[in-house]
Amino acid sequence: MKYIDEFRDGEVAQKLAAAIGREVNPDRRYHFMEFCGGHTHAISRYGVTDLLPDNVRMIHGPGCPVCVLPIGRVDQAIRLALAHGVTLCTYGDCLRVPASDGLSLLKAKAQGGDIRMIYSCADAVALAQQNPEKQVVFFAIGFETTTPPTAVAIKQAAALGLKNFSVLCCHVLTPPAIASIMEGVDEQLQLDGFVGPAHVSTIIGSRPYEPFAAQYRKPVVIAGFEPLDVLLAIRMLIRQVNEGRAEVENEFVRAVDRDGNRKAQALMDEVFELRENFEWRGLGTLPHSARRLRAEFAEFDAERRFVLAYRPVADHKGCDCGEILRGIKRPQECKLFGTVCTPENPVGSCMVSSEGACAAHYTYGRYKDV
């Protein structure tokens, strides 16, 4: 595959790994967090850490859309399907997230809920068009990457005058999550730098990370999702640490610039406004960290249409997803990991998505634990 294989080249990786080996200071340790689940997956899937010196440690961050979704939000989606009888559409990974009462969207589907896995939110709009007698709700999750398409779907539904389409909007923002992680640094978490988001940065650009680098004195290197991207970004971080710099650098120059995608940003602003507060799994309730539909689009807001109250639900007692999402614990340090909690029977959300830290470690890396 042209333009993909080049970024997975094993020979280039060996050379880069050798260069990293020469550049690291053997007298210190390096702790870097990859924010995105996409990076977590690439690191585990390609075995990137096997190419790193022993004193460079990667910490998985909270940037997995399914992982940060709190139980209360999944409960809302299940309520829509079972109590309100809507056709609930969502992306595949959402289906297996454990919710209250031993349910998940997948189990609610088996109970008779009309729950559909879709690949694009445009499919949900089409479904509403084809089934005017059904209320179709799109359970919208994800960071800035998936938010503009949801805005397009809402505008499409408005243009079509659809009365049976709405969105349960759980879109979240990346910068507040990074800020939340930074607040915990040094107290509970040793951190020397960030591998910054790939796809999110194509939308928001590299500028939003500049305050973090300056305020917390931690380097940020934005990296693509291919393994060579990650390896190169790690070298750039090591150089910054060695030289005492804390800047925002961009490894993903083929897709990211400082300003991002202005059109997509305008579209998000047109359709959505910031919520006062939003509960995240692991990170708690963060101000101005999520979006909801503006009043002009209120009729497409499922929370308003179906008068859905949000009820926060505590995570499973033994589940360490919260600490794992904040980088304080590693998946294998959770006592449920690999015993009670497996991809077949996930207890916490980090074991669900392939981008989740627990699922990635279980699926690709658990041989290291034995």
Partner: protein, 350 residues
């Protein structure tokens, strides 16, 4: 006295007719469907016996192998095949990977009221062609019809019987540390052909299913003199799941080399696009073989000499591992587990 007049029976209207509930009711309509469609295309001396089961010549010395498989693939027709030939190939392969020569098949149809007879005829013709090409006749069958909405067009269950010569022992429990793992060709062609055939995904690709009867290839492998320990066709769950099954059955670990696992460029691209791993995508015409290291080259040459094995490769080895992990050295230079498939990557793949 004149001879009683034969009842006029209107022939099946294959072009415009549809399956109705009577076709499964056991009466005349069903008999007609069997006569004019199934028997017409699948007919042979054993099926012609017309009983509930077929009386078959005894296989002489050796043991019988019997395997059964239900097919619910959606869409029914896909690039490179359809549910008809798939239901023949799948069961022949299940018999053949035991080291047996497949001899006979049975076929049971569950039809949905309203299903177009023209489509059913295409499916049955495809079964007939596949059975004929494989030299494995369909000798008995069954037909049921369910109400509209209670099925999805047609489901087909096939059962195969074969005979295995004395002394031949192939089983998933026979892999030993030091053995070598071979794969007969590219991964993921069937699964990705099905994906591309699903309208809702809205993508087009040149990928065709690899559905094929493998008993010919297997016969050449058995004849080459290599000591085969395990043979299996990596269908649902893909290569990864098949190897995990074998590792568990044999109580061993495995190490694969990603660099040499064959995947065609269109399949690799489609998997990339959909976020799938070809190691987990279904195949319907591929084999995994495990043999002693000394025999690996000879076996590889035998597989490659067969048209269905042109892209065969040695992909890894068996070693001791109390955890029975299947692992892989990635092309990138790292190492990872190749785990069991979790969840359902793609429902109704076969």
């Amino acid at each position: 006295m004149s001879e009683p007049r034969k009842n006029y029976v209107r022939p099946l209207d294959i072009k415009h007719g549809r399956v109705d509930m009577a076709h499964g009711a056991g009466g005349r309509a069903m008999a007609q469907l069997i006569d004019e469609l199934f028997a017409r295309h699948l007919g042979n001396e054993w099926l012609a016996q017309g009983d509930d089961g077929a009386v078959l010549p005894a296989p002489g010395a050796g043991r019988l192998v019997m395997a059964t498989d239900s097919h619910v693939v959606s869409p029914l027709f896909f690039p490179g095949g359809d549910i008809g030939c798939l239901s023949v190939h799948g069961t022949i392969n299940d018999v053949a990977v035991m080291g047996a020569q497949p001899l006979w098949l049975s076929a049971a149809f569950i039809l949905e009221e309203g299903f177009p007879l023209a489509d059913l005829a295409r499916i049955v013709e495809s079964m007939a062609a596949a059975a004929k090409a494989a030299g494995v006749p369909i000798v008995t069958g069954d037909t049921k019809v369910v109400e509209r909405g209670k099925g999805d067009g047609v489901f087909i269950s096939t059962t195969g019987v074969g005979v295995i010569v004395a002394g031949r022992e192939l089983s998933g429990c026979r892999a030993r540390p030091g053995d070598v793992i071979l794969l007969s060709g590219t991964l993921g062609d069937h699964g990705m052909a099905i994906m591309a055939g699903r309208e809702s995904l809205g993508f087009e690709s040149p990928i065709v299913s690899d559905t094929a009867a493998l008993h010919g290839l297997i016969a050449t492998m058995l004849d080459c003199g290599a000591e085969l320990r395990v043979l299996r066709d990596p269908t649902r769950g893909g290569l990864a799941t098949t190897l995990n099954e074998i590792a568990r059955q044999s109580g061993v670990g495995m190490m694969l080399q990603e660099k040499v696992v064959p995947v065609s460029p269109p399949v690799a691209a489609a998997c990339e696009f959909l976020g799938l791993d070809p190691l987990y995508v279904a195949n319907e015409g591929k084999l995994v073989a495990i043999c002693a290291a000394n025999d690996a080259e000879r076996l590889l040459a035998a597989i490659r000499a067969h048209p269905l094995g042109a892209h065969a490769a040695i992909i890894g080895s068996v070693h001791e591992d109390p955890h029975h992990f299947v692992q892989m050295t990635t092309a990138f230079g790292g190492r990872r587990i190749v785990d069991w498939l979790s969840g359902d990557q793609l429902p109704r793949i076969c």
